[in-house]
Structures are given as structure tokens and as C-alpha cells.
């Protein structure tokens, strides 16, 4: 016996190929089980995170030692601390370029010179 996800996918294929049923508004992703979708999303999230981290590391000016990148559900979140507003904007700029159409959320804390010295 096939597993439940495989059966569901098979059923979807039959429906899509059946005469007169091809026009049904049933997107392929809706037929998949949640487990399959989540697994694919997690893989994509990990790839995006790795790309953003590598890009920040390779940048000649961005000091990203205290920045953490987390991607969940396609949303890229930048966390941590920077002490220069230039780094903050640069991190956001690079993350957006890698993330493409995905959302990038800035959760970085900026600690300025005044706060450091006073």
C-alpha cells in the first residue's frame, strides 16, 4: 500500500489528467500534504540563510560578526547587534538582494557611539 501523501498526489494527477477535469481550480500545492510542503520550505529557508550569511561574510565593509540570520517560512529575519548604522543598512541591502521576493525583517539592535561612551 502506498503512503497517504503518495496516494493524494496520485489522485491529484488522475484528476488533472481526466477529460473535463483539467479546468478544476485545484492548485497543485493545495493537494500536497502539509508535511511535504513544510519539508520543501525548510530546505529553501536553509539555502537562503546560508546564502545571506555567506554574502555578508564576503562583503568587504560589513562587520557581521554579531548578526544572526534566521529564515522561517520564507521570511528572512536579521537579528543581533551592530554599532554602526552603515552596517545596519548594508545588512538589510544584502539580505534583500538575496531574499528576492521574500520578506526581510530587521530585528538588529543599533548601539551608537553615544550609548557606548555615556
Amino acid at each position: 500500500m502506498g503512503s497517504l501523501p503518495a496516494m493524494a498526489l496520485g489522485a491529484a494527477g488522475l484528476l488533472a489528467g481526466a477529460p473535463g477535469w483539467g479546468q478544476l481550480p485545484v492548485p497543485h500545492s493545495e493537494v500536497r500534504t502539509p508535511e511535504v510542503v513544510v519539508s520543501a520550505t525548510r530546505q529553501n529557508d536553509a539555502v537562503v540563510t546560508a546564502k545571506v550569511v555567506q554574502t555578508m561574510h564576503d562583503d568587504p565593509y560589513l562587520f557581521a560578526d554579531h548578526i544572526t540570520v534566521v529564515t522561517e517560512g520564507g521570511v528572512v529575519r536579521l537579528q543581533g547587534v551592530v554599532t554602526d548604522v552603515t552596517d545596519l543598512y548594508r545588512a538589510m541591502y544584502l539580505a534583500r538582494r538575496i531574499a528576492g521576493t521574500r520578506r526581510v525583517r530587521n530585528e538588529i539592535e543599533l548601539i551608537t557611539d553615544v550609548e557606548c561612551h555615556d
Partner: protein, 172 residues
């Protein structure tokens, strides 16, 4: 003696493309009897506008600002060159410009300049902002002009002060 009150409004907006605009307005009041208003130097308005831009290259940042001190109701004088007929002629403007350039991930070179232009009876100073020693309004007073009328050397009005600062900043 007189009651005093003050209010201050400020706002700051960050644009995604690297620009930050800051504005500030302050209004300070000192309630005095009319006969004492001639020495009411504490009542005035103040404004500040600043533009701060971070370039997309990740290496450069520039900032420009303008600060303005409005005229006060009175002026107790005390400056060597105080003009008693110039009450209200004590506004001041300060213009600032700063540039930061990152040499690598942790080393940044900066340079900034501030220019304060005082009206004839105004004697505002440049705030050094933590870099070096703050200039004092009593500095550069020649001994010949020290009249000790205010228990020490008095200041000059209408000065045009210019401050420049440059240095390196390393972040760990």
C-alpha cells in the same frame, strides 16, 4: 526669580534607501514681570534639522545638519562688546557636515566640521560632541580686556566659530 516651562517636539524618519531625516523644535519660556523682561535671556525657540544618508556601497555615510537658536526677549549683557540697543539681535545658526568612510569591516575614518554664526549679541559655542575638549566662551580673552565685572573674564558676542574634527574608529 520666575517660573519657567519648556516643551520640545522631535521626529525622525528612516527611509529604506538609507536616508534618515530628523527634526526638532523647542520652545522655552520664563515668566517675568514686564520690568524684568530686559534681562530675560532664557526665553527663546530652537530648531534642528538633520539629513543622514548611508550610501548603498556600504562604505560611505554623510550627514548634514542645521541648528537655529531664536532671539530671546531680553539680554543681561556682560559681553565685552554688548550692544544695549541691539536687544533681540542674538540669534545663532550652526551648520554641520560629517563624512564617514569605512576602510574595512572594522576601521572607519571620519571627518566633521561645525560652523556657528552668532548675531552681534549672541555668544553660543560649538558643542564638541565628545571629540576633544569643548571650547569655552572665556577662552582667547586677552588680559587687557578682562574687566572682572562678572568675577572673571567675560565673553564676546557675535563670534563666528569653526570646529573641525577627524579621526579613526575601530570597532571590536
Amino acid at each position: 526669580m520666575g517660573n519657567e516651562w519648556a516643551m520640545k517636539f522631535g521626529g525622525q524618519y528612516h527611509f529604506d534607501f538609507g536616508l534618515t531625516i530628523s527634526v526638532l523644535y523647542e520652545d522655552m519660556h520664563r515668566d517675568l514681570p514686564a520690568v524684568m523682561e530686559f534681562q530675560n535671556e532664557r526665553q527663546r525657540t530652537g530648531d534642528w534639522v538633520s539629513f543622514d544618508y548611508v550610501f548603498p556601497n556600504g562604505a560611505d555615510r554623510i550627514a548634514a545638519g542645521w541648528a537655529h537658536a531664536g532671539a530671546s526677549v531680553g539680554d543681561p549683557g556682560g559681553q565685552h562688546n554688548f550692544n544695549p540697543n541691539g536687544i533681540g539681535n542674538n540669534q545663532a545658526n550652526m551648520y554641520t557636515l560629517a563624512w564617514w568612510h569605512k576602510l574595512d569591516k572594522q576601521l572607519t575614518w571620519y571627518a566633521d566640521i561645525a560652523d556657528t554664526a552668532n548675531d552681534g549679541n549672541a555668544h553660543y559655542d560649538i558643542g564638541a560632541g565628545g571629540h576633544g575638549i569643548k571650547t569655552d566662551c572665556h577662552d582667547a580673552t586677552h588680559e587687557l580686556f578682562i574687566d572682572y565685572s562678572s568675577a572673571g573674564p567675560t565673553t564676546w558676542g557675535g563670534c563666528h566659530e569653526l570646529g573641525v574634527s577627524t579621526g579613526l574608529n575601530f570597532r571590536f
